[in-house]
Point group: C2
């Protein structure tokens, strides 16, 4: 299983690293972080850089492609090398996947037309405008197209993918290995459960990030 995780400036770190932590534990898997050029790529906050070890052209025919989201997603919405590469690797991928607003990039590249998909809760309308069928679930499988909700959802999505690829026993083994027994201090992780004034404040503050 060759896994290619896309990086771009101002991506959100956990979108990429959550699924990485799970998928890299698939026996025999090889993960490569890929970007338009090699070298450090800064996250949205700016205080973390992760290294792209390969350029897009160096990675062909990965089995799993994963596109993270983050504020920098808005720079990846026009046709160009990344979209061309995504359409090319999608021809042979077993799974074409995204976390958070990474699904907007997949959709903009034309890969989610008429497909059920999800994204960060603040970006559902845009996902629909790009031709996908917005679906408010933690992660959505539509054939080989697998999309996760916001940021932390990539962990759940990747564990499900491991189950599909290698069976539930391995998914459970990896879950126990990363001690994924979540105990959030509050029940505030979705727009349905968070206090309404917090939902509205985030919606107002985030509008400029999602254009």
């Amino acid at each position: 299983m060759r896994v290619a995780i896309v990086l771009f400036e101002r991506f959100t770190a956990l979108d990429a690293v959550g699924p990485y932590e799970v998928l890299s534990r698939l026996p025999g898997s090889e993960v490569v972080f890929v970007s338009t050029r090699r070298g450090p790529v800064r996250t949205d906050v700016g205080s973390l850089a992760t290294v792209a070890d390969a350029e897009l052209a160096e990675v062909s025919e990965p089995d799993i492609v994963l596109v993270p989201g983050g504020p920098g997603q808005s720079d990846q919405m026009t046709d160009g090398p990344l979209h061309e590469w995504l359409r090319a690797v999608d021809q042979t991928s077993s799974w074409t996947t995204s976390v958070c607003t990474g699904s907007l990039v997949l959709a903009a590249a034309g890969l989610l037309n008429g497909r059920r998909a999800t994204t960060h809760w603040l970006a559902m309308d845009q996902l629909g405008a790009l031709g996908a069928i917005p679906t408010a679930e933690r992660f959505v499988l539509d054939g080989k197209y697998v999309t996760g909700a916001g940021v932390s959802a990539g962990i759940d999505m990747a564990l499900r993918l491991v189950g599909e690829i290698a069976g539930e026993d391995l998914a459970k083994t990896i879950q126990l290995g990363i001690e994924y027994d979540p105990r959030p201090p509050h029940d505030a992780g979705s727009a349905a459960t968070a206090p309404a004034e917090i939902v509205e404040r985030l919606r107002a503050n985030s509008r400029h990030l999602l254009t």
Copy 2:
């Protein structure tokens, strides 16, 4: 709030990036990744490098110190520059913290003597042997010493820290921002809930990592 996250070769990515994703969203916080030398530091799996932007000597008096775990923790157990730095920054830190087997490093540096602390479920015995009081909880606060359980527990721990530092409303806001509404496909994230044969297999396979 200045946050220093320690990197060392063969750390586990999510140990560091989970709390980073939360703590970097504290208004006014500055996060710096710090290591014995600047530059890329490879994770345990090897296919991801994150960049240390500062050397230990360049970072003094952070408010929060965080030590991740991972297989490379076993190279950080002898006295030397990292232990000296940890003892120095602990003099003035508001919070001295760890995720996973990072607590073994804190304990080896002499910072958890007689304190309640936690670690990855496979490393509880070692934590006790190093002078701490092993406590099987998702995260443990003992004064300013805050330790998280394995890998993914750093997200829960960091949300709790945000609550302590800036109040529950901000913790909920960050939780909603990263859409942390976990839905693991299985209930297998702790030794208490995972199938017994999976617990035993992991225990057998992981013995060489925890020496």
